[in-house]
Amino acid sequence: MSALASIHDLTVTYRRDGNAVAALRNISLDIVAGERLAVIGESGSGKSTLALAIAGLLPASSAVCGRIEWPGSGRPPLLGRDIGFVFQDPSVSLDPVMTVGKQIAEVARTHLGLTWSQAYAKAKTLLERVRLPDPDSALHAFPHQLSGGQKQRVAIAAAIAAGPKLLIADEATSALDTIVQAEIVALIRRLVAEDGMTLLFISHDIALATELAERIAVFRHGQLIELGTTAQIVSTPSQPYTRALLDAHIGLDAAPLLNRAGLHA
């Protein structure tokens, strides 16, 4: 159980309108190599900030204290090469004026030093792996010609194109409807297993996290509230906030509110 990344006392502060807003406070946790770790929390919990901090994508105006260590490799990780990042909104993360094939090929070319024809061949293979229908024509399609779910598949393909060790999915399914969300989650689970990647899955949906992750970290107001295996968190949460999050989930097996309010149909 070696740590892929070791976070020590990480504090991130954003500067807004002259005020300092602490997005993360003294976060210490390890990301185990090969695990699927979910970070869940509500808005303002700092979960996205953690993902950006690990990927090195924090804005220049942010102040960072503490450190992130990468014991396995001698150098800090390179975004694209060692870390793949999937954003929430594929309409924004994909370049609208570049074909899908070129965007994926570009990642392969830049980080693996392939020629353009090699990179395009790799892009086609990746489009097949992410189960995009008709990969040949998809290579030459533009993002606006694809549906939301298809765009997200492309974004995932681009993220794993250079064979990174860590895949970060930041609310990667939040903009998708339920059926497509389930497909993308299954896709991520399969790709991570096939390539032996470590997965960091950021979400506000605790049920979705329990379906995908081995360990869950609960964040609130920039602090790590609880960290444990999925079974521990779901069955025996030690923190009242975690318990409250679990209780607040309205799933298909929840008691109907109509009954709770004592109303008749």
């Binding site: 954003y14 807004r16 309108d17 002259g18 807003v21 808005s43």
Partner: protein, 276 residues
């Protein structure tokens, strides 16, 4: 943070505000500092600057005090520039909002009118208008506005086309708001920021157009203007270049001040969204 404090924190805004304040100050104290007619003879002709401290900027071909002319000229240039820009922005915003919001035939008609005005170079339009109607301050303002309202109109229309699709416009319709109220109370104020961002360019263009009209002798002949001063200095450009350079510097500083202050205002009034 209240808008004033935000304004004062922006360096461009402060620099622009200082420049403009100085120039507006010049305009305001002109009659106090230099009472009487600035076009009256004050001393020997073509006195260079910094020779006689009662006439620090020298005198022109007829012996008029350049400094007095400069200060009085500020009144005209700034008044014309600001009034013309305000008129252009007002006309452009209303036309653009109506066209963008109404769509259909109204949009087509208004845009063809805008096209017609836009195909004529704005300076020539102003020139033609003043030539036909006659030079007076009000006519000069109207002439400049006629040539410059089309830019704000197009920008306002583009903004409105985008805002029209937003949820809060649908929301306003859903509560039963009258379309005209939606257009001018919900849509127009939110379409203004890019239009106002143009305002500094328009004010600058207006001041320069006025200067050019005066230079060509089409400004109000009873008033001192910087353009007129530059025109007067043309004849003696080799021997007394300061006569054209001094008002020219004033023009440059005015345009710079308007631009910086405009940028500052845009920064300040931008509605901030929360960090998500």
């Amino acid at each position: 943070m209240n808008p004033l404090r935000r304004f004062l924190r922006t360096p461009e805004a402060v620099a622009g505000a200082i420049l403009l304040a100085a120039l507006i100050g010049m305009a305001l104290i002109a009659p106090l500092l230099f009472p009487g007619d600035p076009q009256a003879i004050a001393g020997p002709a073509l006195l260079p600057p910094f020779q006689d401290w009662s006439l620090p900027l020298g005198t022109d071909r007829l012996g008029r005090d350049v400094q007095a002319e400069l200060f009085h000229g500020a009144r005209t240039s700034l008044a014309v520039g600001l009034a013309a820009a305000a008129a252009a922005l007002a006309i452009g915003s209303v036309v653009g909002t109506l066209a963008g919001f109404a769509g259909g035939l109204v949009d087509e008609v208004l845009m063809r009118v805008t096209d017609a005005f836009q195909t004529v170079p704005s300076f020539l339009l102003a020139l033609a208008f003043v030539s036909v109607v006659g030079p007076s301050l009000g006519i000069v303002v109207a002439a400049i506005a006629l040539g410059t309202w089309t830019g704000p109109a197009r920008i306002a229309r583009a903004e409105v086309l985008s805002i029209r699709e937003r949820d809060y416009v649908a929301s306003a319709r859903a509560i039963g708001m009258h379309p005209l109220e939606i257009a001018f109370r919900e849509v127009l104020p939110n379409a203004l920021p890019p239009v106002l961002a143009m305002s500094s360019v328009i004010v600058a263009a207006a001041i320069l157009t006025e200067a050019a009209l005066s230079f060509l002798g089409l400004g109000d002949p009873n008033r001192v203007t910087w353009g007129g001063m530059i025109a007067e200095g043309r004849a003696v450009l080799r021997t007394a270049p300061f006569l054209s350079i001094v008002p020219g510097i004033a023009l440059v500083l005015t345009v710079l001040g308007v631009y910086l202050a405009g940028e500052g205002i845009v920064e300040t009034t931008a509605v901030r969204r929360g960090l998500s």
